[in-house]
Symmetry: C2
Subunit: 203 residues, 2 copies
DNA sequence: ACCTGAACACCGTTCAAGT
DNA sequence: ACCTGAACACCGTTCAAGT
């Protein structure tokens, strides 16, 4: 058997990614197995290893697509500027995480082995998302030195992410915070107010 | 075979938890298996199911101990009060996460099945940690209504947690943030400044 | 009552063998 | 060159059977 050549390697890669994303979306990251993917695309397990190094490599490619998806989602929040723009961004990030919970979770749930570094092409995807936030910060205070702005943008975004994480895994709910949207807005608003009021920015 | 009665159920439970914590600390959460635990304590796999419902139940008990551990670690930051006290808390949380990375991660990495709710005794452990942060907030502004303070404390803490998550999984590093301690302090400081300056607190 | 050990239904990954 | 299918070394969980 073998040598079917019904699909090119690129086509198979695309089929695997689509099938994998569907499984993740519908059943969560822990339900993602090579056997399930193989079954859905009509190939055997071995064929998946023709086009991906291993499961970690496959997940990384799924996550890269999700990061693109998130960036697109955030970009649609183009109407607002300044502090309100950042609040809108934060709300958009939360709404993405809610609507695509399992895909969003996979980005942070899957730890690649300690020794393997994050590939550069993947780092660029992360950078793209953070870059959007930073652009909003740039509109906020044009006098601020770039280094300080970058740091502030990344810090706030990590914070917004944290609120999303703890609310969507039930921790914040267990502790009496029911309206998460209020929380992300609260965090963004007060942080920005504090940041703007700090004059020449230090540490 | 069977009926050894060398150890009471409670003793076995304690042995399992100790062994499990060591495996997690040394090899990470993904290396935690019932077979490995059983081997280390000198019992067979089946015996673990005498004292724990399943893996999820066991992990929950490990995490409960970690939450206690975190609370103790935070409580040792008793010297500072006010805004500096909260910054010290944030630094202490980060330092705990760094020193006990694998144990800390397990709390958020292990998702219990969608339908099973968080047990009340476990919610209380989470509440205890958040409660410490809230107590620091109470010193900050005694006039603030309790609801607003609670919300602010939980929001900021989720934010601090987010900075820790993204830095310790390499995301922030990939994006140019090298001094995480600066980030947690920046988040806490600006958030508090913005919050204090907001007068009668609204959403 | 306590504990074993084998079984069951899964995993990811590899690779000789077929076309 | 492309793909299979069986094998290998693992998983969590269950449960009849032994003491």
């Amino acid at each position: 058997m073998a040598r079917r050549s019904e699909h090119s390697q690129e086509e198979i890669k695309a089929m695997i990614l689509s099938a994998a994303e569907l499984i993740v979306a519908e059943q969560g990251g822990s339900a993602l197995t090579v056997r399930k993917i193989a079954g859905q695309i009509g190939y055997t397990v071995g064929s998946i290893y023709m086009v991906f190094d291993n499961m970690a490599d496959l997940v990384l490619h799924i996550n890269a697509r999700t990061l693109d998806h998130i960036a697109t989602h955030l970009e649609q929040t183009r109407d607002c500027t300044g502090a309100l723009g950042i609040e809108a961004f934060a709300k958009a990030y939360l709404s993405y995480a809610r609507q695509h919970l399992n895909r969003w979770r996979l980005i942070f749930d899957y730890h690649l082995p300690e020794d393997t570094p994050i590939p550069l092409w993947y780092q660029a995807k992360i950078e793209a998302v953070f870059g959007l936030v930073e652009a909003q910060f740039a509109q906020l205070d044009r006098n601020c030195p770039e280094a300080g702005r970058k740091h502030a943008a990344r810090t706030l975004w990590a914070g917004v992410h944290g609120v999303c994480v703890l609310s969507l895994n039930g921790t914040l709910g267990a502790v009496g915070v029911n309206d998460v949207e209020d929380s992300v807005v609260l965090l963004a608003r007060h942080f920005i107010r504090g940041w703007m009021g700090s004059g020449p920015v230090q540490a």
